[in-house]
Every structure is written in structure tokens, then in C-alpha cells.
């Protein structure tokens, strides 16, 4: 009973609220006819409703404020609400009427408002919604009356009209001009985002109009802690569009360039179809994490983003009347750089004003050269080091070999050979000593060579004290030779000395100094000291450019070296950039068929294999092999590394027979040329052991794994990241043999090493997690297995991007597990995902995990698709 009365009173009350005050009593007479209690109640409610000053956002504002009659509410934002209103005097027109929420510091707000009001009244630009009047209500609540723009957000408009990239850019230029006008009047917008840029059509042409000017600055200036908490349900500003300095929240440093940043984000979205920082990711992170990301994380270039999003980009491309490749191609290069320049974290590196940004866009549209350019290598290296926080490895030298191990040795040998020849030419005094080191005569025993080298060093020091440069060259040679033999503690002081001598006697811009930097750089790399390696290579690069000119093979080779370090550190995007630059330069100077190009193509191929792009990798490898075989003969240690990598390519595309042939050849060459105790052997041994395991030759596999580990640990120490490549597969063997505990312990160790060396987002970490998953899969613990695989997938998606083919196998394995777990639906969905990213392999035909799916039409479709692709 009481409930009904309550409800009735509420109904009447609310209805009465909607009516103008003078119309209420007649309505109430009717509605409450005969029920005095009801009338009494509603009257009392209405009285309280009107008399209480209510700053809340649920409160309806008065009918008429000044010359404006409020019609209907259009929306509610963080700062207040927007109404459609009719202005009556001095001119009759429709306006957008914005009522500001009661701020925390009302007096301050009003004061600031007054100064803004003058400037706003002065703004007169076709791309800015004109502000008509500003003031405050009787209650002291500030308001704005603005031009009523009937339009849609710029991003929506462009998508709905399927505007091409060019057309979008033209619209964007207009937006910049509007913002520029405001800046000239002293107003910073601070909240530029698509919903504040509405496109309306005037005279048949689309005109973007910026709304909400000045409002943001006037009211959100001071963000006290209290404000943050109470507003936390509604985020202040819009994080996706917020500039790094705005994310600081101190309010300092926010100037016109903050608007440039936000414009950059809008441009990014117009071009690529997504925001630079994924909106969902940003918002689900904690408050502090969100701010950190905006301030520190580097967004992907638009073209890269488009390429890596796969299917999601398809829609974006369609909305720009093109396809994914076409879109990426249009964006790559100048447009990328324009956007990234607008998005620089460092304000001083951004465009100084919206008109600068508009001007560059204009140049792009006219096919003129733009000002924005890829940042210098030195800058990028510094940024890379900062971003990945690669530090200097403390303490001792951990001995490492590059990539699959022998490549570095091979390169070293090439260099040593050239250097040795030069050395011999230079100094005949020491011919006797160095003859034994000539790689044309195969080095067969580490120990004897070392002692020979030791003697050589003594003689170098004593007999060449008056010829510093010759000494330097020989020290460099010997140091590198030590390195090739794995004697890194001995190598470093020699290489350091060589560098010092050269610096002293040649001055900085001398190629020889750069040579020393390169040698030291490789040494640092081998000890997994990526930061140091990059610094050294960076220095070498600038010296080579100065001393030899920018079109020299040494420059190209160093670019390749930098790419190698960055790749191993895990940044595939950056690395590819360097590799491409290197190869382009080699081609430009006509050296693309010189063996020196292998220094770039070999790590590049390895990186491509990491990314599961085997078809791209194989030609690079085959070219490298033929170049090296031609130069060094087919049985040279230098060749063995390439052979090993080709084996890897076959191995990972499941052609086991061919893989084995290559691995065996590599092992054979190395045993013969480097001796049975050289650490490089750990790589072919590991690979062969993996194949043995697959063939169920567990005894052989075990022996090989053990030997590989012994060699590796002895030379590289117990915590080197390359060991992970052996430990992982070894654990798998242990599983096969039923040594579950040991397998688990080995995987733990591998994971620890990988995470410590590379951080959590690295492909090696993902691989281990997937091995864990595989382990559980074999045990039949499918839920657990999926959990591990999903973690691995997360990492892969983060590194390679969602929709990248490198996530394919993970997805395939997951679907196997899902089937066995009884979830056929998810299994099929996951298989589709795998197909979507470009995965296809014949394994699916004989995989008996899918037996229960045979005959299912969806599964048959999938099989057919795979057949078509192969």
C-alpha cells in the first residue's frame, strides 16, 4: 500500500518537474484530484526541490537563463552538461548551451572564466565553433553559449563517408588552422579529441568545427587529490589523447604544444583507424600505470600498427577505400614521420605549433619534401637503451657466441683473416709468430693457439713500442682472435688498448678508431651487454660516416650490427628498420653480392625465423651460403654457421630430414676446424639432439644435450641467455623419459635466465612458457596447459602484434589442447584464429588430437583452407 502511494507521488512529482513552473498547479489540480495527501506530499517535494541550491549533476537547471531558453539536454560530460537552447535577444538563434559543473574552487573558476571570456569573444574562425556569450546564472554557476554545431565527430564522419587518406588530411589541415587561430588568441584547448571536432556540411562541403574551447583550461586547472578521487569514475581529460606533460598532472609545462600532441593522436586515428595507445589497455591499467604509459611508452608507427593489426586493419582500410597493404604503403615514410613528430614525448622535438604541423601535411599532399624525418641513429639508439633499460652487465665477462653461435666466429674469422694478412704485410718481424694463426691453416687446438697468441702479445708489446698504430692493429687482430676462441677476459684488455692507442694517435674521426669500437662492440654483444654494444656501434657508425662518407660498406655493415643487437634485445620493429637501411645502402653502393653483406643478411634471416617468416628467410640464407662458399670454400668454419641456420629453417618448417643433413654438416665442419671443445659446437649439438628426441633416440639426444650444456656453461657461464635454447628442448626430452621433476626444474631455470636477461617480453620467454604448457598437455592437465599457452600468446602478441603469423603455432597448439579438453567449439574458433594470422601447416592432417573433429563440417572447411594454402 505504502509503496503504491510512494510511487504515485513520485510519478506526479517527476511529471511536474518537467513542466514550466506556471503550468504546474493546473496539472497538479488534475493529477491529485480528490487526494489531498498526495497533493500535499508533491507540493512539499517540489518546494524542497526548487529551494535547495543543488550543485549535483542530476539537478535540472532553470528554464531560462539570461537571454536563453533551455530546450533539451544534449549530453553530459565530465565538466558539465550541454543543452540545446534558443537565444532570444539580441538575435534569435539556436545555440549550444553548456552549464559548468560546480567546481571545487568556484571563485577561482569564475575569475579565470572572466579572462577567458574576452579572448573567446575575439575568436573568429570558420573552424571554431563561435562562442557567443559566457556568464553565470543567478546561483553563480558559469555557462557558455556557443554556436550549435550539427555534426558528427571527425573520425566518424571520415569513416562514414569512406574518405581516402588524402581527403582526411585535407580536413585535418583545417582543424589545425582552427587550433592555431586559438593559440594566437592565447587559448590552449587541452582536450582536443574527435568528439570535440565536429564535422558539419556547409554549402555542400564538409567543415570541421572545434568545440569546447577554453572551457577545459578554465575549469580543470588545479587537480587536487580530492578532485581526483571524486572524479575517478569519470576520468579527467581523455587519456588516449592526453599529452605526456598533461599526464604529469602538475599542470606545468602544458602549453600550445600539448594541443599539437593531441592533434597528433587525432591524426593517427584518422590515418590508421586506431589510437596510438590502445584505449582498452590504457583504461584497464591502474591510474599510475596509465600515466606512466603515456609518458614513457613509445607508440608504434602508424604503418607498422596497420600491418600488425591484421584483420582489424581490414575494416580501417576499407573505410579509406583501399586495402591493408595499400594503406600501409601510403602511411609508410613521410606520413609516419609527421605523425610521430607530433607525438614526440619531448615537447621540444614536436612541431612547435599546429600551423607547422599543417604545413608539413600540406607539403606531403603536394609531394614536396617534409620537415619531419626519421630521427638520427644516435638518437634512436639512446632512446632504445632508455626504453629497454638495457644496462651494463656488472662484473665479469660472460662468454657468448652470436646468434646460432658460429656466425660471429665466422665474421671474426673473416676479419681476422683480412687483418692477419694486413698485419703480415705490415710487419715482417713477426711473420714467424703469426704464420700459425693464418686461418687458411685450420686452427685445431685452442690451447696451443692461445699460448701462441700470448707469446705474440708479448712480442707486440716489446718490439713495436715505437710504432703505436701498427701495434694497435696487431692488438686488435689478436684480441679478436682471442674472442673467436672464447677467451674473452684476455680479449678485452687488448682491444681496449688498441682503441686507446688509435684515439691518441689518430684523433676521433679516423676509421681505425671505429674499427676498434666495432671489435669492442662485438665483445660487449657476446657478453649480452646490449647497451654497451649499442653505444659502441653507434659511435663507430658516426665515425665511419664522417671518415669514409655515408655511402661506404662499413657504414652499411655497422647498421647491420646495430640491427643485430636490437633484434637480440627483442625489438623486431626497430631491428628491421636497421636491417633494411643496411641492405638498401649495400645495394646503393653496389655491394649487395659481396660477402660482407652476410653480416646483415644472416642475423636478418634469423630474426625472420623468429617471426615465423620462413619464406622470406630462406632466400637470404641461401644467398649467404653461396657467397661464403664461393669466398671461403665449402668446409670453412665461417660457412658452418650459415649451414646451421638453414637447418633451423627446415627444422621449424617441419622438414626434418633436410634439417638433419644440414645440422650434421655444420657439426662436422666445426668439429674439424674448431676442435671438439669449442663452445660453438653447442648449437649444432643442441639442434641434432632435438631431432634425435623427435626420432625417439633418447640416449643419443641425452648425450648431445649434456655435451652441449657442458660446452656452453664452461664458456658462457651458467646464466647466459643462449643456454635457454638448449635447456628448453632438453627439458622436453626429460619429459619424454618421464623425469617430470627434473624437467620442471630445468624449465624453471630456463625461464629464470630468459626473464633476467631479456625481461618478460621476449620470444625466448614465450617459448619456455609454451614448453611448460606442452609439459602439462602431455600430463593431461589441459586447463593448466592452456593457462601457460595463453601467457605465451600474450607475450607474442605484445612483441609481434596481434594477428601476426608468429602467434600461429601457439594458437594451433591451444586448439589441440582444447579439443582434448572436450571444448570442440573453442578449438575450432582457435583454429580459425590461427588461419587468420596466416598459419598453415600439413601437420594438421595427421594430428590425431583432432580425431574427434573428423567429419565436422567446420573442421573440414579448415582443412580445405590449409590445403589451399600449401
Amino acid at each position: 500500500m505504502k509503496t503504491n502511494r510512494h510511487r504515485r507521488a513520485k510519478e506526479v512529482f517527476l511529471a511536474a518537474c518537467e513542466l514550466p513552473v506556471d503550468g504546474r498547479s493546473s496539472y497538479l489540480d488534475e493529477a491529485c484530484a480528490g487526494d489531498d495527501d498526495l497533493r500535499h506530499e508533491v507540493d512539499a517535494l517540489l518546494e524542497i526541490d526548487c529551494t535547495t541550491p543543488d550543485p549535483s549533476d542530476g539537478r535540472r537547471p532553470p528554464e531560462r537563463i539570461g537571454n536563453f531558453r533551455l530546450l533539451q539536454r544534449l549530453g553530459e560530460g565530465g565538466m558539465g552538461e550541454v543543452w540545446e537552447a534558443e537565444q532570444e535577444r539580441p538575435v534569435r538563434r539556436r545555440v549550444a548551451f553548456k552549464l559548468i559543473k560546480w567546481g571545487m574552487d568556484t571563485k577561482e573558476v569564475l575569475a579565470r572564466f572572466e579572462s577567458e571570456r574576452q579572448a573567446l569573444a575575439l575568436m573568429n574562425h570558420p573552424n571554431i565553433a563561435k562562442a557567443y556569450e559566457a556568464g553565470s546564472t543567478d546561483e553563480g554557476r558559469p555557462f557558455f553559449a556557443m554556436e550549435y554545431v550539427r555534426g558528427v565527430p571527425v573520425t566518424e564522419y571520415c569513416d562514414a563517408q569512406r574518405l581516402s587518406t588524402q581527403e582526411r588530411l585535407t580536413l585535418f589541415v583545417q582543424v589545425c588552422e582552427g587550433v592555431q587561430h586559438a593559440h594566437q588568441k592565447g587559448i590552449i584547448h587541452r582536450d582536443i579529441k574527435p568528439s570535440n571536432i565536429l564535422v558539419t556540411v556547409e554549402d555542400g562541403r564538409p567543415v570541421p568545427k572545434i568545440i569546447d574551447f577554453g572551457v577545459a583550461k578554465a575549469t580543470s586547472q588545479r587537480l587536487t587529490e580530492r578532485t581526483l578521487f571524486t572524479e575517478l569514475g569519470q576520468w579527467i581529460g581523455t587519456p588516449e589523447y592526453m599529452s605526456p606533460e598533461q599526464a604529469e598532472l602538475t599542470g606545468l609545462d602544458v602549453d600550445t604544444r600539448s594541443d599539437v600532441y593531441s592533434l597528433g593522436v587525432v591524426l593517427y586515428e584518422l590515418l590508421a583507424g586506431t589510437q596510438p595507445f590502445d584505449a582498452k589497455e590504457l583504461r584497464t591499467a591502474g591510474f599510475d600505470e596509465m600515466r606512466r604509459r603515456i609518458r614513457e611508452d613509445e607508440p608504434q608507427r602508424p604503418s607498422t600498427r596497420v600491418s600488425s593489426l591484421g584483420a582489424a586493419s581490414q575494416l580501417a582500410a576499407e573505410r579509406r577505400r583501399t586495402d591493408i597493404q595499400g594503406l600501409a604503403r601510403t602511411l609508410r615514410g613521410d606520413l609516419d614521420w609527421i605523425v610521430m613528430k607530433a607525438l614526440e614525448k619531448d615537447q621540444t622535438r614536436r612541431y612547435g605549433s599546429p600551423s607547422d604541423l599543417a604545413a608539413d601535411v600540406g607539403r606531403f599532399l603536394c609531394d614536396e619534401p617534409v620537415n619531419a624525418s626519421p630521427p638520427s641513429t644516435a638518437y634512436r639508439i639512446r632512446k632504445f637503451i632508455r626504453r629497454h633499460r638495457v644496462g651494463v652487465v656488472a662484473g665479469g665477462v660472460v662468454i657468448v657466441a652470436l646468434v646460432s653461435g658460429v656466425v660471429g666466429t665466422a665474421i671474426g674469422f673473416v676479419k681476422a683473416r683480412h687483418e692477419a694478412e694486413a698485419a703480415r704485410k705490415v710487419s715482417e718481424l713477426l711473420v714467424g709468430v703469426f704464420a700459425d694463426l693464418d686461418p687458411a691453416v685450420q686452427v685445431s687446438q685452442v690451447t696451443s693457439t692461445t699460448s701462441v697468441l700470448d707469446r705474440g702479445v708479448e712480442r707486440i708489446r716489446s718490439e713495436l713500442s715505437d710504432q703505436p698504430l701498427v701495434r694497435a692493429r696487431l692488438l686488435d687482430t689478436v684480441g679478436t682472435a682471442y674472442g673467436n676462441l672464447g677467451q674473452f677476459e684476455r680479449a678485452k684488455p687488448l682491444l681496449d688498448e688498441a682503441l686507446r692507442l688509435r684515439e691518441e694517435h689518430l684523433g676521433e674521426p679516423a676509421a681505425a678508431v671505429a674499427d676498434s669500437c666495432v671489435s669492442l662492440g662485438w665483445l660487449a654483444f657476446r657478453t649480452a651487454d646490449f647497451g654497451e654494444a649499442l653505444v659502441l656501434f653507434g659511435r663507430a657508425l658516426s665515425i665511419y660516416e664522417q671518415a669514409l662518407g655515408p655511402d661506404h660498406w662499413a657504414v652499411a655493415a655497422t647498421l647491420g650490427s646495430i640491427g643485430t643487437v636490437i633484434w637480440r634485445a627483442g625489438d623486431y620493429d626497430e631491428a628491421r628498420g636497421f636491417f633494411d637501411r643496411s641492405l638498401n645502402l649495400f645495394q646503393a653502393i653496389g655491394k649487395e653480392d659481396d660477402p660482407v653483406v652476410v653480416r646483415t643478411t644472416l642475423p636478418y634471416a634469423n630474426m625472420l625465423m623468429d617471426m615465423a617468416e620462413y619464406q622470406a628467410a630462406l632466400p637470404l640464407l641461401e644467398q649467404a651460403l653461396s657467397l661464403y662458399e664461393e669466398r671461403f670454400g665449402p668446409n670453412n668454419a665461417a660457412v658452418s654457421g650459415i649451414v646451421l641456420d638453414i637447418g633451423r629453417c627446415y627444422h621449424e618448417t617441419l622438414r626434418y630430414e633436410e634439417a638433419r643433413r644440414f645440422y650434421e654438416r655444420a657439426l662436422e665442419i666445426q668439429e674439424r676446424t674448431l676442435g671438439p671443445d669449442h663452445f660453438s659446437l653447442m648449437y649444432p649439438l643442441t639442434k641434432l639432439a632435438m631431432l634425435d628426441r623427435r626420432d625417439k633416440q633418447y640416449e643419443e639426444a641425452d648425450a648431445r644435450f649434456k655435451r652441449a650444456l657442458v660446452l656452453g656453461e664452461r664458456a658462457l657461464g651458467p646464466d647466459h641467455p643462449d643456454l635457454v635454447w638448449t635447456l628448453g628442448p632438453y627439458a622436453l626430452l626429460m619429459l619424454n623419459r618421464g623425469d617430470v621433476e627434473e624437467a620442471h626444474a630445468t624449465l624453471d631455470r630456463a625461464l629464470r635466465i630468459a626473464e633476467e636477461a631479456h625481461g618478460p617480453y621476449h620470444v625466448d620467454v614465450a617459448r619456455i612458457l609454451e614448453l611448460f604448457g606442452f609439459h602439462y598437455y602431455q600430463q593431461g592437465e589441459y586447463d593448466e596447459a592452456l593457462r601457460w599457452y595463453r601467457r605465451g600468446l600474450e607475450i607474442r602478441e605484445k612483441i609481434f602484434g596481434v594477428g601476426h603469423v608468429a602467434t600461429g603455432w601457439n594458437l594451433y597448439d591451444q586448439s589441440c589442447i582444447l579439443v582434448l579438453n572436450g571444448d570442440a567449439e573453442s578449438a575450432l574458433a582457435t583454429l580459425h584464429r590461427a588461419l587468420d594470422v596466416g598459419w598453415a601447416n600439413a601437420r594438421i592432417f595427421d594430428d590425431d588430437d583432432f580425431d574427434s573433429l573428423k567429419g565436422d563440417p567446420d573442421f573440414e572447411t579448415i582443412l580445405e583452407e590449409v590445403r589451399v594454402r600449401l
Binding site: 505504502k2 509503496t3 502511494r5 512529482f13 517527476l14 526541490d49 543543488d54 549535483s56 571524486t230 569514475g233
Partner: protein
Amino acid sequence: MDSDPKSRVTEIISGLSGTGDVDRATAEELFPLVYDELRRLAKSYMSRETPGHTLQPTALVHEAYLKLVDQTRADWKGKTHFYAVGARVMRRLLVDHARERGAQKRGAGWQSVTLSEALDPLGGEVLDPEQLLDLNTALEQLAVVDDREAKVVTLRFFGGLTVEQVAEVLAVSKRTVENDWRHAQAWLRLRLSEAGPS
């Protein structure tokens, strides 16, 4: 499997998806977990602050959220529902505490509280414990005739939820929330002014 409150809460929160309503069982499960944390926070807050300082319930709920939920796994929906539970907990805590103080007439604890949105049905910016109890009683009366309205008020006053969030939690439209809110305020003010100064 694990009994760590943070994991459990995060699990519950991140499991929420689809339609708006949190079922009773889930809310009941969350309540004690959140209660513990909020009580701890309130206590430490009060021992830190000088006497006479104003307590802000919504700030505490926010802190509890940060402590109990793994940010990377919660989304807007999960967060909103957490805040909803937090609002209820906060109300219970404040009321319990006010009653205790009432019984003792003095002693440690909060002196005054600022409810969200600087909204105040009693005409001042802050409420003392007695006023809070009056409010609570009025809310209970409201709940008898209009349960949903009482919920709206609880969520907004004690949790600081926006109209949008309330709509999500109660699975109604924003318009409904606005209407409820407007009416509830008038109703509460009316009742509390009738009750006379306390």
C-alpha cells in the same frame, strides 16, 4: 586454490561480464572481503589524521579498489561493481561506527564525514555521526517503499558512483537513475527536515 584476498576479489571482478546485474551471491561473497579491507583502511586513516578531520568515504573506497583489484585485469564494468559493493560496505561501516560512538559519546574515530558530490541532504557540507544515523534511518525507511531509490542514493553518497555507473549496477536506464535521484533527494530532505534538528 589460493586464499589471497586480492586474487579472489580480482577473480570475481574480472569474471563479471555481459548484462549489468551482479547476482546476489557474488555481491555477498565480495562484501566481507571488501569490508575487511575498508575497515582496515578507515582505521589507519583515522589514526593518521588529526581529530576533527573529515572522512571521505569515496576516497577510501578508491584506495580499497587499488589494493584489492589487480588493475590489469579489471575493466570499467568490474570496477563499477566493486564500487557498488564498496558503497554498501562504507555505509555499514560508518553506521556501525556512529552507533558505537553514540554509545560512548566521545572517543576516537571520525568526527565528520563528507559524502560524495558534496551532496548533503541535511543542509551542511559535512555530517556528524548523529546526522549520519539520521540519514541512515531515513534511507532505511525509503528502502521500504522504494528499494531501488534507496540503492541509488547509497551508491551515489557512499560510493561516489556516477549516474552512468549506477545505471550499470542496477541495470536500468540513465533516465531512471536521474529521476530516482532527483526524487530521492527531495524526499530525504523533506523527511529529515521534518525530523527536526538532531
